[in-house]
């Protein structure tokens, strides 16, 4: 029997497989497809202080082995998530959830954190400082060392839960940002968010996405994500949730060997809504094939 369990800052997960924020809504749609309690956990849709419509459509474009999205953080707002969505969630998900929050100012991050503090269902607060689809500044927190430090500080100061900072790959040196978050007290990191990309509608002679640019994710970005997790693992001592292009049990193992303590699966979940279930079912056999008896033991094994 392969031991699939992993641990994120005290949160014990049956397995390292976590659907990524923005690709699993609040879990409800998937709970109609299969029993989502088999998941390690899931990270819910990036939630902000106020409700948001997000960007105009089209918000989706296809790329080779990947996709662009410019959803722009459509969400019902933290109030509604806390008062309606989270209570309902217990009906279909019995484990703790990862609460992904976004903001346009430090105050907003703090506001959302305080709202989530009292909710037992929330296991980890995942602070998205990296969404590239927001024109009014959301991205800059994740691309600037000082801002990353400050957001982390501020959220940590109020949070009663472990705080994981979700990093942007659109930076010259991700280890600098990672280090800043660790210094500011982050309990863990999650990387990567999407790479900024674009497609052009050749017939219409204009960007395909109404927002012009969007975030690239899917298998195309896997080698970039893997490299960043590998680099950050050598730089910090806090756990890393690895994300970016994972779409198979082999990818999960590769990402863990690079240094991830758990993984998130985004775009692949959109392509195949059953992918996380399939991966969890395959993991024991694939692990065995590579002589792995416990997934915990391979974290960072490639270093």
């Amino acid at each position: 029997m392969v031991d699939l369990s992993v641990n994120l800052s005290g949160l014990e997960l049956d397995n390292p497989v976590i659907p990524a924020s923005g690709c699993f809504g609040y879990g409800e749609e998937f709970s109609e497809l299969y029993d989502i309690n088999i998941l390690g956990s899931f990270s819910f849709k990036g939630t902000t202080k106020e409700p948001r419509y997000g960007n105009p459509t089209p918000r989706i474009a296809e790329t080779s082995s990947g996709m662009l999205n410019s959803v722009g953080l459509q969400n019902p707002g933290i109030e509604k998530v806390v008062s309606e969505v989270l209570p309902r969630m217990s009906g279909y998900f019995s484990k703790k959830v990862i609460a992904n929050i976004s903001g346009f100012s430090i105050d907003e991050y703090v506001y959302c954190t305080e709202k989530l503090n009292g909710i037992p269902k929330v296991g980890i607060i995942e602070v998205n400082i990296s969404c590239p689809n927001i024109h009014d500044g959301g991205m800059s927190f994740g691309t600037d060392e000082k801002s990353a430090y400050e957001v982390t500080r501020a959220v940590k100061a109020v949070s009663k839960k472990p705080v994981y900072i979700k990093l942007s790959p659109n930076v010259t040196d991700i280890t600098v940002i990672a280090k800043a978050c660790e210094k500011a007290g982050a309990d863990g990191l999650c990387l990567i968010n999407t790479l900024l990309g674009m497609r052009i509608d050749v017939k219409g002679r204009k960007p395909l996405l109404a927002n012009k640019t969007g975030g690239l994710s899917g298998p195309a970005v896997f080698p970039v994500a893997l490299r960043m997790v590998y680099q950050v693992f050598e730089t910090v001592d806090i756990p890393i949730i690895g994300a970016g292009g994972i779409s198979s049990a082999e990818d999960v193992i590769e990402m863990m060997m690079a240094g991830a303590a758990a993984v998130q699966i985004g775009a692949a979940t959109l392509k195949n809504p059953y992918i996380c279930k399939e991966i969890i079912e395959l993991l024991p056999a694939v692990a065995e094939k590579y002589g792995i008896s416990s997934l915990k033991e391979i974290i960072g094994a490639a270093h």
Partner: protein, 242 residues
């Protein structure tokens, strides 16, 4: 919802237009206007297509070659197995229809109206049909609608078949009390502007998940934000914001 469908046939029926018949479990498809989403080798995202016809174990779609995905589909041979998400979307509610609905379709918006016409007739309604195309070479499903007993008008932009003009140019010929429509956005808008009865409008949007999880396909309605893939593709006339 995830099914394996096998290609039974895949034939050209008009210029760049193909009819694909698929065998497999159809029980998730409960309403006309729903769609299926097909995974294609070599393409990351699935492709959504409206259900055009349905039996206990067969689903028919009609699709146009638009880009790489549909081009690749056109080469699929009998026996090919496809990974399909089936029974997506809300579909048309025929309960809301009047006795004499008009079904208005444009281009590849026409296919879902065929199953809709069948269901309306089964429910004792008397649907009539207007279908619009660019030119006569692109016309399809006309005979099939007529075979159902529906009065069917064709419009073409260049006048090479039926009425010269757009679908709304044919509207005056009908006496109708409800509208079902599917087609490109400018056509939907024209239908909206040129009709006053209640109606249901089927929209398209670029999709990622197709199941309501990613917020990729949202539109604003008078009743709030709706996901075209899950809360749509069919919207009621009264909720539409253009």
């Amino acid at each position: 919802m995830s099914e394996k469908y096998t290609v039974i046939s895949n034939n050209v029926i008009a210029e760049n237009i193909y009819r694909m018949v698929l065998q497999g479990n159809t029980e998730k498809i409960t309403k006309p206007g729903q769609f299926i989403s097909i995974g294609l080798d070599g393409f990351f995202l699935r492709r959504p297509f409206s259900v055009c016809d349905l039996s206990a174990d067969k689903t028919t779609i009609i699709y146009k070659i638009l880009g790489g995905g549909t081009k690749s589909m056109s080469s699929y041979k009998k026996g090919k197995e496809l990974d399909v998400l089936s029974g997506l979307g809300n579909g048309f509610s025929i309960e809301k229809s009047g006795e004499k609905p008009v079904l208005i379709g444009g281009g590849v918006g026409v296919p879902p109206l065929y199953l809709l016409a069948k269901r309306l007739i089964e429910a004792g309604k008397k649907p009539s049909v207007i279908i619009g195309f660019n030119k006569s070479a692109e016309v399809f499903l006309r005979e099939e609608f007529e075979a159902l007993g529906c009065r069917t008008l064709v419009s073409t932009i260049d006048g090479s078949a039926g009425i010269k003009g757009v679908v709304t140019d044919a509207l005056y010929q009908y006496d109708y009390d409800y509208v079902f429509t599917c087609g490109p956005m400018p056509m939907l808008k024209a239908v909206y502007d040129n009709t006053e009865t209640g109606g249901q409008f089927s929209f398209e949007e670029r999709m990622a998940c197709g199941i309501g999880a990613c917020m990729g396909c949202t539109c604003k309605t008078k009743y709030g934000y709706k996901r075209i893939c899950r809360d749509g593709p069919v919207l009621e006339r009264e909720e539409i914001i253009w």
